[in-house]
Assembly symmetry: C2
Amino acid sequence: MKKRANLRDVAQRAGVSVATVSRVMNTPARVSPDTRNRVEAAMSDLRFTPSAAARAINTGRTQTVAALLPTLANSTFARFADGLEARLGAFGLSLVVATTGEDPEVELARARQMLNIGAEAIIVTGASQSADFRAFVERHMVPTVSVSLFQQDAWLPTIGYDNQKAVLLALDHLMQLGHHKIAVVHGPHGHNDRTRIRLEALKQAEVAANGALTFRYFEAPFSVQGGSEAAARLLAQRGDETAVLAFTDVLAGGVIHRLHSLGLKVPQDFSVVGMEDLPSSASLYPPLTTVHLPVRRMGEQAAEALAQWLDNGIRPDHQELPIELAARSSSVARQT
Amino acid sequence: MKKRANLRDVAQRAGVSVATVSRVMNTPARVSPDTRNRVEAAMSDLRFTPSAAARAINTGRTQTVAALLPTLANSTFARFADGLEARLGAFGLSLVVATTGEDPEVELARARQMLNIGAEAIIVTGASQSADFRAFVERHMVPTVSVSLFQQDAWLPTIGYDNQKAVLLALDHLMQLGHHKIAVVHGPHGHNDRTRIRLEALKQAEVAANGALTFRYFEAPFSVQGGSEAAARLLAQRGDETAVLAFTDVLAGGVIHRLHSLGLKVPQDFSVVGMEDLPSSASLYPPLTTVHLPVRRMGEQAAEALAQWLDNGIRPDHQELPIELAARSSSVARQT
DNA sequence: CTGAAAGCGCTAACAA
DNA sequence: TTGTTAGCGCTTTCAG
């Protein structure tokens, strides 16, 4: 068994120097067509595959960027990754993804792994990483940006939307429709600062409304199933809520599903509003009113920010992405 | 500005040799606790970050695997990637993803890029890559597997489900319910062999039924919008179809949505069956009857197959994943 | 347990 | 246009 051919083997077979072979790969214009052909022939004869590692050690670049995401099994993160990857590709960069399950320890371990394989930059979700994670990033001075939120005072450059605005957009919509007793369905917030920010915004609004607004909170796993269970709990101990505000469309979908199967109607019995705007949300039954979050665009902007950072060494600014309410049929004026 | 510290710098500062520093990183047990501490101190003093490239050039491994997917903005591929990534991680491997948009030229270009950054293995979708792609893989002898179908005579090891069985599962279900005039909604099949296989299976069934079964085919883009347009065309020139068989749940969702908005009822006016079983399909209205395809599991198995291939050099066998019909409420017996 | 030294495969001056 | 050569940063024998 013979090992992989290297530059020397190719050079020898083509009767040229290694430098020439290298030039054929990198600056073919500077090699005479004649020798170039000989070299290329030798390459394919020997099934030559250049070593990425050897190249990287010389150029100092791996052309690789890492994204640390809670999961890919969620349309929002997947579409983000899709936009990110597409745009990175335009800069000649490749995307390596690692999922963390929103576990800070895993997140740190994955970040380590990403540097071990040569990632030049990192993208993380949210801005509330562990102190260890922060120390890690600072120690290795690896360009890192945070996505899914926009927060001027975050420790990393953030590229995302204002989660407070987002939830208030949904809330205002419901209030304008006359709803003031609202069930809030949200995911676990232990390690999720987007959820925390949204909850906080709601609590402030409740206080500011001075009694004119009341919420009942239901925490559930981030899944259709979770939303469904939350709705079950809501009805098991039914209050006088007339609307449901879910922090994600997936949860909203679960809520609606359970409401239907318990014989209730949306929006007649409950107005339901989500957040995210999944591609499928417009074709739910009824079409879901939700806050549109431009996640694909977020991926593209993150790609550009990172590509430039790697290029010119200048840390990017925070970037806020516009959000808007997508009013559809799952919400109507309160029945009086 | 001083450049990144390397092994020599660390060795010098700790008063040891580079070999010792290397051991601290790779086989810490073989270094006395005392010197180990000195070395670690030196490392953090100098903010030492080992060079992945240098390591890779010596070990000959990059611990990186590439997946070439049509897109990530589709729950099925995203969940596949999620399972793949999670399982690869267990083997210490990282996943780099590249999207191809189902364009063979892009696919080849991306494969090149993946080798350029050092991917040790490649995962592709389907088994009908271009001749150039095939030549590329063979020339570089990079371990490559194909997913989303199971096909014994494919040029690559395939890990997936039998698409013929899958579509027949859906068809049999409809036939058992008494439907024999069926609208088939499918995506473009130019570069998609899974779609071609399914169409072929249907055509054979039609012939075999000898007149007792008729299909009308509607091609549409792989999106909710596409499904919706297909339904519009179906109704614009309405035949006597009583059921719709869609090749993906996304298309089925679009069909149902349009049917509803045109005042028709599912399943009363049309039974609708999909294929995929997205997490959201069970909470559509009505819950969608569909063929369950275990895509996450497929990702896990692909990861294992590749990890072993890289480990022992033995090309894996084809692997068939089980599929089953998920009968829900969108399909009922034909109204007579 | 530790060190010296020989590469790994390639790029990039610098020469010719 | 082409060749020579000195590394890049690390791992890994082989000695001690």
